[in-house]
Amino acid sequence: MRRAAARVIQTEEIYPGTFVTWYDAPALSQHAKPGQFVMVDAGAERSGLDPLLPRAFSYYRFRYASPHDSERQFALLYSLIGRVTEQMASMQPGDRVWMTGPLGRGFEVRRSAANLLLVGGGVGIAPLVALADAESEHASRSRSIVLCFGARGAEGVYPAELLPPQVEYQVATEDGSMGRPGFVTDLFAEHLSWADQSFACGPVPMFRAMSPIVRRDGMSRPVQILMETEMACGTGICYGCAVFTKRGVKLCCKDGPRFELLDVYPNG
């Protein structure tokens, strides 16, 4: 875990209301894994007191600025939901923002797993893209990756062309304006038995809807979910981010944010 002033490289709106900002801060990206996160301290640069607390963001992507670079840049994906994200989107290239990271426990992919199922909704897409990127880099392992994404309508759908070409992308929209009409959990149900491992990130109702699907399947297949809770610190010192699991009270930021679906939502 390090604290560093990340330099803004560029920001773009990748689909309506959803932004991606690239940052340069080797200390924060060096050992970062998909599913881990940073705490962004948008107030500190101006030593402002409002907002006071940092906010958590999953690593979305990594890249090398040039083939000779040994240090990766990283990107965060966010939608404009408040002052912190508005400030992030308005920062100019060269501006700096304090962050702490990498934090938490990210996804764990078994070496032997050939078929990976990724399920996301909303900004929950961010860590799944990081995972898809990392796993499609290992072409030799001949992995198949299916990414299922759900949105209300076409305007909220993560653009297919941004994904690695190896990834099979399946979309569901509630209004039927793109892909399959319905919920992303319908796609999840169809692919569950195909998958050697499943990974999900999205809103709580999505997790709750996934739980009975896994139980009905009868194989009690593990599904790694990335949780989001209120957080004050992100570093394990405030106890604000409690997650009540079958194995006791856990801290989302420190014991998670990766949890087992049925440990947290045994009954939906």
Partner: protein, 328 residues
């Protein structure tokens, strides 16, 4: 500005031989066991877990003292979520004493503290006077434990908590029960939510407290106007952070003027200048809380800025600053 020339001389002299100020403070003068800190910067209970996370980030031994997360006799799950909500320049928390219980704290955590070279003070809480006494007994003589902070000021509980700290008689009973059950130095942590804090402060002093911590969080509230429900798991929760600093500072000043024993200042300290304010108001030491949530290095930064203030202002001994605010 007739003194500007002498000021300049003082500044030049300080620059010529950079003085390393003496920072050591005594939190329990005359106690059975001493609690001397190498500097006045402590962490605040519940804002640094049990110190292990911070110890991975920086040399924990640089701090004056580390406070444990509040501990109870039995493990507790704490309150449901949401436990945290941000408010302007502050936050509300309702954690509800999630902790592993005193036995596990001693077997798993205090064994690490023992290897540190910094005094660790255990913040402790009971539902009854008797539970406070039993906790004090269990913690007495435990390796790795340098002092006790008696929490009679937690706003997030149905039983006990802040109720003890609002009544001078109840507060004194708790403090007395703890003091007579331990040889460790005892700090009483007071609630700011009282009409006259000096009454409680004096009661704790008379009951044998070695020092007072002023203060715990204020009881606050925040409502979601869409759902028309409180934004925390209980209707009221503890307000902390810069929003409470002027209030806490006033309480420290009032308390320090009313008691003989050392007062520890706590509430909204974000940087070294905030710490200096509390010391000028009468605090012998300070606790850094919410600031660590924004930046886990905050306690170290407060320390460095405090040293810088002393160096720049020709303060050779931090004890000279305690209560040095000029009010006339």
């Amino acid at each position: 500005m007739s003194s500007s020339v002498t000021d300049l001389h003082a500044v030049r002299a300080a620059a010529a031989r950079p003085l390393t100020p003496s920072l050591s403070v005594d939190l329990a003068p005359g106690a059975k066991r001493e609690l001397t800190l190498r500097n006045p910067v402590m962490t605040a209970s519940g804002t640094s877990s049990n110190g292990l996370e911070l110890a991975r980030l920086f040399d924990i031994n640089r701090l004056g003292s580390v406070l444990s997360k509040g501990v109870t006799l039995k493990p507790r799950r704490g309150n449901p979520t949401p436990r945290i909500v941000e408010t302007p320049a502050g936050m509300l928390n309702s954690i509800g004493f999630q902790n592993v219980g005193v036995s596990k704290l001693l077997s798993d955590v205090a064994t690490v503290w023992e290897t540190w070279n910094v005094p660790v003070v255990v913040n402790m809480l009971g539902d009854t006077v008797d539970e406070f006494a039993r906790l004090a007994q269990v913690l007495d003589g435990a390796p790795g434990v340098a002092g006790l902070e008696v929490n009679i000021s937690c706003p997030n509980l149905d039983v006990g908590g802040v109720a003890f700290g609002r009544d001078p008689v109840a507060a004194a009973r708790v403090v007395e029960a703890v003091v007579t059950s331990t040889t460790l130095p005892v700090i009483a942590k007071l609630t700011p939510d009282v009409t006259d804090i000096t009454v409680i402060a004096q009661a704790c002093q008379d009951a044998g407290a070695d020092a007072l911590c002023v203060a715990n969080s204020f009881v606050g509230m925040s409502i979601d106007v869409n759902s028309r429900r409180p934004r925390t798991n209980r209707p009221v929760a503890g307000l902390t952070g810069p929003a409470i600093k002027p209030l806490a500072l006033r309480l420290v000043w009032e308390t320090a003027n009313a008691v003989e024993i050392p007062v520890i200042g706590c509430g909204g300290i974000m940087d070294g200048r905030d710490a200096v304010e509390f010391i000028l108001a009468g605090a012998t030491a300070v606790q850094v809380g919410t600031a660590s949530f924004r930046d886990p290095f905050a306690p170290i930064q407060v320390l460095e800025e405090l040293v810088q203030y002393c160096t720049e202002n020709g303060v050779s001994d931090i004890n000279d600053l305690i209560g040095a605010v000029q009010v006339d």
